[in-house]
């Protein structure tokens, strides 16, 4: 990147590192941090949406819908999440391809599962065999987002379900007394009030979501863990102009520090939000704030 980098062998320690840390592959490494942040930014709202649907389903008056909601929460919570990550990536991919296969190639007679293979017609492949490299990467990332959202949606559903039940019962009864329908009560009374109760659980979930992002690596996305392993490994002068020993330990130390910093910042920000939200609320936290001010 810098002009003096053309011959790294002659550089001093500082110059060498400034060149080493700004070469092309390191740029991909830094880009993968953006990927992680992007995943968080997309997954969090989508998971919240799934969670909302799950919570709505599990308190529905229709029995099968209630079973669906409760089953969704119970199954995802009872099994190691990493198993879900490994499962969903293949299962979702096959589901999409199978659906496209049914629609695009109705004349196809061979079975889709042949022994140990999963074969769909070429038009149904996702992404198409002819599509460029970035399409494949985007598709992989997209699958990862859905997987994360599905798993964390169940956790969020659990939190929101609890929050909905925490809203004082008289509030809902009052709404009914005013002649509101079931739907109106839900949207106008229950939903606006539940957030205060949901926030501690949701902020906990956010921390957990941050700490789950390295699992992207298992989903085949080229994330920070992938690059740390790649870049840290021993490099000889035959393949690179920056030969070094096994530095993977230092790369992972850097990741460790990155995550520690990230969780610390989140903690501080979430604390502030909680303080603002409890302001003036008839809860213990709000009462404590009022007393402190007086």
């Amino acid at each position: 990147m810098f002009s003096y980098c053309s011959d790294p062998d002659t550089l001093g320690t500082f110059g060498w590192f400034s060149c080493y840390l700004s070469n092309g592959v390191h740029m991909s490494f830094y880009l993968s941090f953006v990927k992680v942040l992007l995943l968080l930014a997309i997954t969090a709202p989508v998971a919240l949406g799934f969670g909302f649907l799950g919570a709505m389903a599990s308190r529905s008056r229709v029995l099968p819908l209630r079973w669906l909601g409760k089953g969704y929460i119970a199954i995802v919570r009872g099994v190691p999440d990493i198993a879900f990550f490994l499962f969903f990536v293949i299962a979702l991919d096959q589901m999409f391809e199978w659906t496209r296969h049914q629609i695009l190639c109705p004349d196809w007679t061979d079975p889709v599962r042949q022994g140990n293979d999963f074969l769909v017609c070429p038009q149904a492949k996702l992404p198409l065999g002819t599509s460029p490299e970035w399409m494949h990467e985007t598709y992989g990332f997209f699958l990862a987002v859905i997987t994360f959202a599905l798993v964390f949606g169940a956790f969020a559903a659990n939190v929101l379900f609890g929050a909905m039940r925490a809203v004082p019962r008289p509030q809902l009864e009052t709404a009914e007394a005013y002649g509101m329908s079931h739907r109106q009560t839900f949207w106008r009374i229950l939903v606006p009030q539940m957030w205060v109760y949901a926030l501690p659980g949701l902020s906990n979930l956010w921390m957990v979501l941050i700490k789950a992002t390295p699992l992207l690596f298992l989903l085949g996305v080229e994330d920070i863990v992938y690059w740390a392993r790649e870049l840290g490994g021993t490099k000889t002068s035959r393949f690179t102009s920056y030969p070094h020993g096994d530095w993977r330990m230092w790369y992972f130390l850097f990741l460790l520090v990155f995550y520690l910093g990230f969780t610390r910042i989140s903690e501080i920000v979430l604390d502030r939000i909680m303080k603002r939200l409890t302001f003036g609320q008839a809860t213990a936290g709000g009462e404590a704030q009022r007393k402190a001010a007086a």
Binding site: I75, R77, G78, V79, P80, D81, I82, A83, L86, F87, I90, A91, Q94, R113, N116, D117, F118, F155, N158, V159, N204, L205, V208, I210, K211, A212, T213, P214, L215, F217, L218, V225, A228, R229, G232, D246, R248, M249, F252, L253, L255, L256, Y259, L260, T263, R264
Partner: protein, 268 residues
């Protein structure tokens, strides 16, 4: 090959007893059940040992964090923050490469790069930190009257801690600690996906499940089997911890006994 034969061949495969080669083609349901179940041995090994050793260290850490002496409090606080603030997955990776480097320094560190010791140490430290935070919370919520009553009986120091403070702390922390145990048990599946090599394909349950999923390209059989095993073991943990909970609360009148409420298990 009968299913009984398969169980004999692969039942203890994960610890290196029985058939050497894993099945390559024509996987039967029995083979998948047996091998994944055999992998559970490792999950149980990691879970139980880390839980037992972590329990004692966590008690010490919690007392350290609640101490008024900065010399004890600060290290405990930092330790807990370090292990709760970073992903377990990254901790595994870092520890593995750290041990790999140490191995070059001295052959004493040879066994640390193997999962049975290296990963166990990481799990031990990790669960200690999480458990210490739970115990610390419980320590702070011990009813003031209990401690005052102990003082009135002339207890102090070690007897007061052993007979009043510690049992009360355990009683209050127990429901949350049950979650932590389940949680730790689930976290053991990360071991073989985080640098630690599965030597001679001796892996844990998830290792074998993903082996089958890769080979057959069909995730719909091995992963539900894995889920089945884990749900069973989760229920066993809940049962055992429930019994201990009953014992810890046996002096309380019936209605005041806290019912075990199980809260979500999340990734760390």
């Amino acid at each position: 090959m009968s299913c009984w034969q398969t169980i004999q061949d692969y039942g203890l495969r994960s610890i290196g007893i029985g058939e050497r080669l894993l099945p390559k083609t024509d996987f039967t349901l029995c083979e998948q059940f047996t091998l994944i179940g055999s992998g559970m041995i490792w999950n149980i090994y990691f879970g139980v040992l880390a839980l037992i050793t972590g329990f004692f260290f966590a008690s010490a850490l919690a007392i350290g964090k609640a101490s008024s002496n900065r010399l004890y409090r600060k290290p405990a606080e930092w330790f807990i923050f370090l292990f709760r603030g970073s992903p377990l997955f990254i901790q595994f990776f870092f520890a593995y490469f750290l041990f790999l480097n140490l191995k070059g320094v001295h052959p004493f560190f040879d066994p640390f790069t193997a999962a049975w010791l290296g990963a166990l140490i990481v799990l031990f430290l990790n669960t200690s930190a999480y458990t210490a935070e739970i115990f610390y919370g419980a320590l702070l919520s011990i009813p003031k009257g209990d401690v005052e009553a102990a003082d009135a009986y002339g207890m102090s120091g070690w007897p007061r801690f052993r007979r009043i403070v510690w049992p009360t702390m355990l009683r209050l922390a127990w429901p949350a600690y049950t979650n932590e145990a389940i949680f730790l048990f689930h976290a053991t599946t990360l071991v073989y996906f985080s640098g630690f090599p599965a030597w001679r394909q001796k892996g844990d349950a998830l290792y074998y499940a993903s082996y089958f999923a890769d080979k057959t390209f069909n995730p719909f059989i091995p992963y539900p089997i894995l889920a089945f095993y884990f749900i069973i073991f989760t229920l066993i943990i809940v049962g055992v911890f429930g019994l201990i909970n009953n014992r810890l609360n046996r002096h309380l009148p019936g209605e005041r006994r806290s019912k075990m409420r199980l809260r979500p298990n999340l990734i760390r």
